[in-house]
């Protein structure tokens, strides 16, 4: 039967279009129930004995939720307890339209065989299809469609001869809908009613999202926040310029302060400061908000005070703290544009990891939840299992933030495990940094090559056979995903041939398939201490793509002819087959080079490479490439317990820089090649020059030692950094370089068609890309594909040549790389804590890296560890502090601290807050009475006082 669906819509150009779609109704859509004898279905989804202990429905029943239930209570539906649910097509479509993430979760449930969720395509069923009537809104029509389908199901199931007890229960929170459904004799409950009736499983109630009705009960009538403006007002306000639109970023250190990053036209973006609970107006980190800029006389300066929301303050405005906040520097110069949030354009809530902060009242069911991310406010949740959840890491979702509630309301999603447990902590770390770390799905794995895998005749036919070359790889110890190998040999004409061979990952990952999409989404492999989250399945990363020794592997080679002065005579790229002769570590390679007794081919090759690399490096540095340093920490992990037993900063050998040098060379050669070939859609990497103001801190630091750092160009910076030496203070130069690193901008991927500035500041190269690590970076896969097309080794596909799609991909890659870095740092920090936990309290020497208003930040070179020494203490009267912003210096009780001063500190682990365990440093030397502590193990009382703050 044919029906047509007609609707009118507005086109983007402003026209109005009438759209007619054909809509076919069928009579062969089955009900999916096991009991049904009428339907000729092959497989059934809904079970015969759909029993769940409920004091409302004692009979077996199927649930049929309406759209709003699915949207708000997806956590309930995800619970393994809830089975035998009918999801109508109407509901599915509406969910898809309203929320993509929830749609995805619903689809996942539908695919899960254990859950027995059935999609009933009621819109195409002859008996359940309805047309919209005159004067009926789209929502009313859908509600009616849901009722009609429920009715159909109950009648249909009643017709079955076997079991007449089976019923369908409609779940809806909409009062009108419920009444109408009851009128037509349907069994209808509100979601809360139903979930609370499941007496055998009371824990499910915790996962209920709070709906509007419930919120009223919880909160007092006192209105704490101004009303949010409706979207239409916001939109017209933004258009007229009275409001600005931007991303809300809460401050990590001060819960009463935030900035809104307003994207202007072009590069013209500003940051608007928001201060005070009222002005923040319930915006949560990462929300898209509308702000109103306050008049100039109300502008303030960002406070440099560290403020944390402590304890559950029940709905009282913390005037005291706000007063403290405002007492910041009032110098007109430091004032920034200040505004207030008038409305929320789009919430960006996700489930948050954190811990429960138990209510002091025993038997209370409402508790505050403290998220691990300090930028997220505490969330009030209702739970009956508080006792069990205490001490566990849990996930909580926000449901809403009414205007008379101090904290947002939320509900419990799931427990991640007990706090302090390494597994749990890693899980939290990954979730908080949005690192996709699930196991690869079957769909992804299905695209793996079949084992045993061999290089076929066809492969050999199109590839250059380089198996006879003396290729070797040099990597850190324990590396299983080897993506680069090198060779070097003399040519008859006196020149040398150097080859960089990169694993040919793009041979295995074909564009557009599930594995490709997954890799594109992950963007990068994430290396945590003691764990690696792969971008591509392990079979590829550690086996088929990994250029291990003595096996034949596919490679993408970049081969140069280089003369004696390390100048490139000729460059060529080719797909090849190689057979690596040795997989060396940096140390092993270094040993071979240094050992005069070794004269095999591999060693000779290494020596040749090393010689050329030194010339290349020298030339690069002459051009102004920066060598910055940032202490990298490495753990010695106990093989049994996987706990760190020793900690040291990574040491760099000559061979490290040898490999690096050739990788840079390959990347630059490839970047040039793909840009020449595809000027519009080459994926490149750039590193913008930092704005001069970024160097302020570096200049001030140098001035304190009577030195001048020239920052007008990369070359000048590199030269003046080299010149900056202080006698008897060898670490000074490193410190300065660490500071310089902090001044730099982030390097980013971009699509050449979308940008004009390609320069890579740090490497002093006019063009750069990533080619050499396709196993762990998706950008390299794209570059491989581009290069393969450029040399005619592979075919192209539309998305590769679409600069907008490329650009979108770059954004994702940049985001993933950033998050991966944060996750790595967090992982190092966590393991550092574990290390110090096992080592107890240590006394170490360090240098002052930064001076703050109430603290100094100290770097311990031995551990590459950075920590903060606070001079203010809640329990004690704070010492006299004088902060000089210009120098910068901080004078504590007469002793002044300058940058780079040498201090001695005790390091201990502050475990008072399980969620935010941190390294606590306290001053030992210089001795300042009332501030510094005794060098050896401090007495317990003193220690506790320190820890409790």
């Amino acid at each position: 039967m044919l029906k047509s669906k007609t609707f009118v819509k507005k086109t983007r150009s402003g026209g109005i279009m009438k759209i007619v779609r054909e809509h076919y109704l069928r009579d062969d859509i089955w009900c999916g129930s096991e009991v049904c004898t009428e339907c000729k279905q092959e497989e059934t989804v809904l079970q015969k004995d759909a029993c769940i202990e409920s004091n409302l429905c004692s009979f077996p029943h199927y649930l049929l939720p309406d759209t709003n239930i699915v949207l708000s209570q997806i956590d309930i539906l995800e619970d393994p307890l809830i089975k035998n649910v009918i999801i109508l097509q109407t509901v599915l479509q509406e969910v898809r339209h309203r929320s993509a993430p929830i749609y995805k979760r619903l689809k996942d449930i539908l695919h899960d065989k254990e859950k027995h969720f059935y999609t009933f395509t009621n819109e195409h069923h002859r008996e359940t299809y309805i047309e919209r009537e005159q004067g009926e809104s789209a929502n009313d029509r859908n509600d009616r469609a849901i009722r009609i389908s429920t009715k159909w199901y109950s009648d249909h199931l009643n017709n079955t001869p076997t079991d007449k007890r089976l019923k369908v229960v409609l779940l809806t929170n909409d009062r009108g809908n419920k009444e109408k459904a009851e009128e037509s004799g349907l069994l209808t409950y509100r979601c809360e009613e139903y979930v609370k009736s499941l007496i055998a499983n009371p824990e499910l109630v915790d996962r209920l999202a709070l709906t509007n009705d419930d919120k009223n009960e919880i909160t007092s009538s006192k209105v704490l926040f101004p009303e949010h403006l409706p979207l239409s007002r916001i939109q017209s306000g933004i258009k007229s310029g009275t409001f600005q639109q931007g991303t809300f970023r809460a401050s990590r250190d001060n819960y009463l302060e935030a900035t809104v990053f307003v994207h202007g036209e072009g590069d013209d973006s500003t940051e608007v400061l928001i201060q005070g609970l009222q002005n923040l107006n319930r915006a949560v980190h990462q929300d898209l908000v509308a702000v109103e800029i306050l008049p100039l006389n109300q502008w303030v300066a960002p406070s440099s005070v560290v403020l944390q929301d402590e304890g559950p303050k029940e709905d009282d405005v913390t005037e005291e703290e706000e007063a403290e906040l405002k007492s910041g520097p009032s110098g007109a110069a430091s004032r920034k544009p200040t505004g207030r949030v008038v409305g929320i354009i789009k919430r960006n809530w996700r489930p948050f990891c954190g811990m429960l902060f138990l209510s002091q009242i025993k038997e209370a069911t409402r508790h505050l939840f403290t998220p691990a991310d300090r930028r997220i406010p505490r969330i009030r949740i209702e739970t009956r299992q508080a006792a069990t959840l205490a001490g566990q890491r849990i996930m909580v979702a926000i449901d809403g933030w009414p205007k008379h509630s101090r904290y947002p309301n939320g509900h419990f999603v799931r427990s991640l495990g007990s706090a302090g447990d390494k597994e749990t902590e890693t899980e939290v770390l990954l979730l908080e940094h949005d690192v996709p770390h699930q196991d690869f799905s079957q769909a992804v794995l299905s695209f793996l090559p079949k084992m045993p895998w061999n290089i076929t005749e066809e492969d050999m036919a199109v590839r250059e056979d380089l198996r006879n070359l003396t290729v070797c790889s040099v990597d850190p110890p324990g590396c299983t995903d080897i993506d680069d190998a090198l060779h070097c040999r003399d040519l008859p004409n006196g020149n040398q041939e150097v080859g960089v061979h990169i694993a040919d990952v793009s041979h295995f990952i074909r564009p557009g398939n599930a594995m490709d999409l997954e890799a594109a989404n992950r963007g990068t492999t994430v290396y945590l201490t003691g764990r690696r989250i792969d971008m591509v399945p392990e079979l590829l990363s550690s086996n088929l793509c990994s250029l291990r020794s003595s096996v034949e592997r596919l490679a993408f080679s970049c081969i140069w002819e280089i003369n004696d002065k390390a100048e490139i005579v000729k460059t060529r790229f080719t797909k090849s087959v190689i057979n690596s002769k040795a997989s060396l570590t940096y140390a092993e390679a270094q040993m071979r080079i240094d050992d005069a007794n070794m004269n095999d081919d591999t060693t000779k090759s290494l020596r040749g490479l090393n010689r050329l690399a030194k010339i290349l490096k020298k030339r690069r540095i002459e051009k102004g490439a920066l060598t910055l340093s940032s202490p990298e920490v490495r753990f010695h992990i106990d093989s049994e317990t996987h706990d760190p037993i020793d900690l040291q900063t990574k040491e760099l050998k000559e061979t490290n820089s040898m490999v690096e040098e050739f990788m840079l060379l390959a990347n630059i050669s490839v970047a040039q090649k793909i840009y020449d070939e595809f000027s519009e859609c080459a994926l490149l990497r750039k590193h913008p020059a930092p704005p001069p103001s970024n160097y302020d801190i570096l200049n001030k630091a140098a001035k304190s030692k009577d030195m001048v750092i020239h920052t007008d160009s990369a070359k000048a910076l590199a030269d003046s950094l080299d010149a900056a030496q202080v006698d008897g203070f060898p670490y000074f130069n490193t410190l300065l370089r660490i500071l310089a690193t902090r001044c730099m901008m982030q390097a980013v991927y971009f699509c050449s068609g979308m940008d004009s500035d390609f320069h890579h500041y740090g490497l002093a190269s006019p063009i750069y890309t990533h080619f050499t690590s396709p196993i762990r970076r998706y950008s390299d896969i794209i570059v491989h594909r581009l290069l393969a097309v450029a040399i005619g080794a592979d075919s192209t596909y539309p998305d590769l040549m679409d600069k907008h799609k490329q650009s979108a991909l770059c954004n994702n890659l940049n985001y993933r790389h950033k998050m991966a870095q944060y996750a790595q740092r967090a992982s190092v920090a966590y393991h550092t804590q574990l290390f110090f936990k096992s080592r107890g309290i240590l006394n170490e020497e360090g240098f002052i890296l930064f001076v703050r208003k109430n603290a100094i930040i100290v770097l311990i070179p031995k551990f590459g560890l950075e920590g903060t020494v606070f001079f203010e203490n809640k329990d004690k009267p704070s010492p006299k502090l004088i902060f000089n912003e210009e120098a910068p210096s901080l004078t504590v009780e007469g002793h002044s601290f300058n940058m780079f001063d040498k201090v001695k500190v005790t390091i201990s682990l502050d475990a008072s807050n399980v969620q935010h365990q941190k390294i606590r440093m306290s001053l030992v030397e210089p001795v300042i009475s009332g501030v510094s502590v005794a060098p050896s193990e401090p007495e317990p009382e003193v220690k506790r006082a320190k820890l409790d703050r």
């Binding site: 047509s4 007609t6 609707f7 009118v8 819509k9 507005k10 402003g14 026209g15 109005i16 009438k18 759209i19 007619v20 919209r132 005159q134 004067g135 009926e136 809104s137 789209a138 017209s236 258009k239 007229s240």
Partner: protein, 283 residues
């Protein structure tokens, strides 16, 4: 235009018949053949109608699109709309049809142009009328004009309203209820009556055979009040002023008589709403 070959004897027979007010198919000189009208035939137009007159079969679709009014339109009328007729089956026929129809309908009295105005000087509805000839058995103009009138009657234009923000920027908003639409007032839309001079008399709704016997015909467009809005002579022969006057009078009379039952019929069909049995193209 499609022609048939008629022998001398047939011609004499037809001429004599007309003289005696009895035509080959038994009609009088001022009678139309059996006419069938069905509206809402094509769902992706805003209004459509199919008219069958004898074996002549035409389908008309009306599409409304948003457009800009032409600047040279007189001040008092802020809106305008263009008719585009695209004939099929020969450029010449197409040209002739579209020229004639343009003359007949493109004036501000046929349809209330103000109702098509969205915002003066900026937006208006432009109506596009597509005519499709399915079969031709004489008297195309009359059939087309009836079909156009029926299609315009059937036309449902989605309601829009202009919202204005503080800055004076205008935004067109579309009602999300598909039933919420505007109808056109088609009362003044004229119908064409084609009169063929056969011998000394004239006939309406000539068949192809009668047309072959005629030297000239007069196309007269008449409103429901009997106002003649356009007169046009087609064909190779000449007409004397006297018979033009006579023919115009007949045209007025016939035209008036055509409008009333047409409107009644359209209204009746409309009132049936969704219950109406659709006939479609195969019925």
């Amino acid at each position: 235009m499609a022609t048939v070959q008629v022998s001398e004897a047939e011609k004499v027979y037809i001429l004599h018949g007309v003289r005696d007010d009895l035509r080959v198919d038994g009609r009088g000189c001022e009678d139309y053949r059996h006419m069938e009208i069905e509206t809402d035939m094509v769902s992706n137009t805003d209004g459509s109608a199919k008219v069958t007159l004898g074996h002549t079969d035409v389908l008309v679709g009306v599409k409304a699109e948003m457009g800009k009014p032409r600047p040279m339109v007189p001040d008092e009328v802020h809106c305008c709309f263009a008719w585009k007729f695209e004939g099929r089956g020969g450029d010449e026929l197409g040209m002739e049809l579209s020229n004639t129809l343009y003359k007949v309908f493109n004036n501000r009295y046929s349809v209330d142009l103000k109702s098509l105005c969205i915002s003066p000087g900026e937006h208006c509805w432009v109506l596009y009328v597509d005519v499709l000839l399915l079969q031709c058995d004489g008297n195309l103009f009359d059939a087309i004009s009836v079909a156009i009138k029926a299609a315009l009657f059937n036309t449902k234009i989605p309601k829009v309203h202009i919202s204005e923000d503080e800055e004076g920027g205008k935004e067109i908003e579309l009602s999300d209820d598909p039933y919420d639409c505007m109808r056109l007032n088609v009362e003044n839309v004229p119908c064409i009556v084609t009169l063929c001079k056969v011998g000394h008399r004239h006939v309406v709704d000539a068949t192809l055979q009668e047309k072959a016997c005629s030297v000239a015909s007069l196309i007269i467009s008449v409103t429901h009040k009997g106002t003649v809005t356009c007169v046009r002579k087609v064909g190779g022969g000449s007409l004397d002023p006297e018979s033009i006057f006579e023919m115009t009078e007949t045209g007025k009379r016939v035209g008036k008589a055509l409008h009333a039952p047409l409107m009644a019929l359209l209204q009746e069909e409309e009132s049936l709403g969704k219950k109406r049995q659709k006939v479609g193209f195969l019925g």
